[in-house]
Amino acid sequence: DAGITQSPRHKVTETGTPVTLRCHQTENHRYMYWYRQDPGHGLRLIHYSYGVKDTDKGEVSDGYSVSRSKTEDFLLTLESATSSQTSVYFCATGQGTEKLFFGSGTQLSVL
C-alpha cells in the first residue's frame, strides 16, 4: 500500500462524540486525500491537502475537518459524529492526481 498507514482500522463510536482518523505516509507525497466509500456512491472526496497546512474541501466536507502539520500525517476529524458518517474511510496520497495510492481503510460505525 505504498507506505500508507491508516489508524485505527476499525472504530465504533456513539453519536455526538468526536472522532479522529489518522493517515501516515512514508512516500513523501505532496498530496493527501480523504475519501469515504459507501454502497451506491463509490468514493467521494471529503478533504484534501496540497502541502503542509494547505487543505481544501472536497464534495462531501460538511461535518469533517482536517489538519496537516507534517508532510507525512493527515488527520480527519469528525467533530460530532452522526450515524450518516458511518462509512469506510480511505486515505490516499500522490504527487498529483495521476496515480493515487490508497491505504487499507478505516471502518467507522457511529451508533
Partner: protein
C-alpha cells in the same frame, strides 16, 4: 450529482469470458481517465488509465476503450479469471488549477470458475 456514471452495478462472468464495464461523463474538461481495482478489505489500486488523445489502451488482458464524441469510456477484461473478481471504479479528472479525481459508483465483478 454524479459526474461520472458507471454501469453495471454488478456483473457475473464465466471464467474465460469478457467483462465489460462502462462509464460516461459530462465535463468536457476531463482529460485523464483511470480505472481502479479494489479487492475486499483493501484500498483501490490503479489498474490502467487513458488520455483522450488515444481511443484505446491495452495492458495485458485489460483494455480501455475511449469515445470522446460520446463522452464514454469502458474497461474490457479479456479471458476473465476468478482472480479478477473485485470492485472496479472508473474515474476522471481535468480542468481547473487542481485536478481532483471524481470516481464512479463502482462495479462488483464476480468471475465464476
Amino acid at each position: 450529482q454524479q459526474q461520472v456514471k458507471q454501469s453495471p452495478q454488478s456483473l457475473i462472468v464465466q471464467k474465460g469470458g469478457i467483462s465489460i464495464i462502462n462509464c460516461a461523463y459530462e465535463n468536457t474538461a476531463f482529460d485523464y481517465f483511470p480505472w481502479y481495482q479494489q479487492f475486499p478489505g483493501k484500498g483501490p489500486a490503479l489498474l490502467i488509465a487513458i488520455r483522450p488523445d488515444v481511443s484505446e489502451k491495452k495492458e495485458g488482458r485489460f483494455t480501455i476503450s475511449f469515445n470522446k464524441s460520446a463522452k464514454q469510456f469502458s474497461l474490457h477484461i479479456m479471458d476473465s479469471q476468478p482472480g479478477d473478481s473485485a470492485t472496479y471504479f472508473c474515474a476522471a479528472s481535468g480542468g481547473g488549477s487542481f485536478q481532483k479525481l471524481v470516481f464512479g459508483t463502482g462495479t462488483r465483478l464476480l468471475v465464476s470458475p
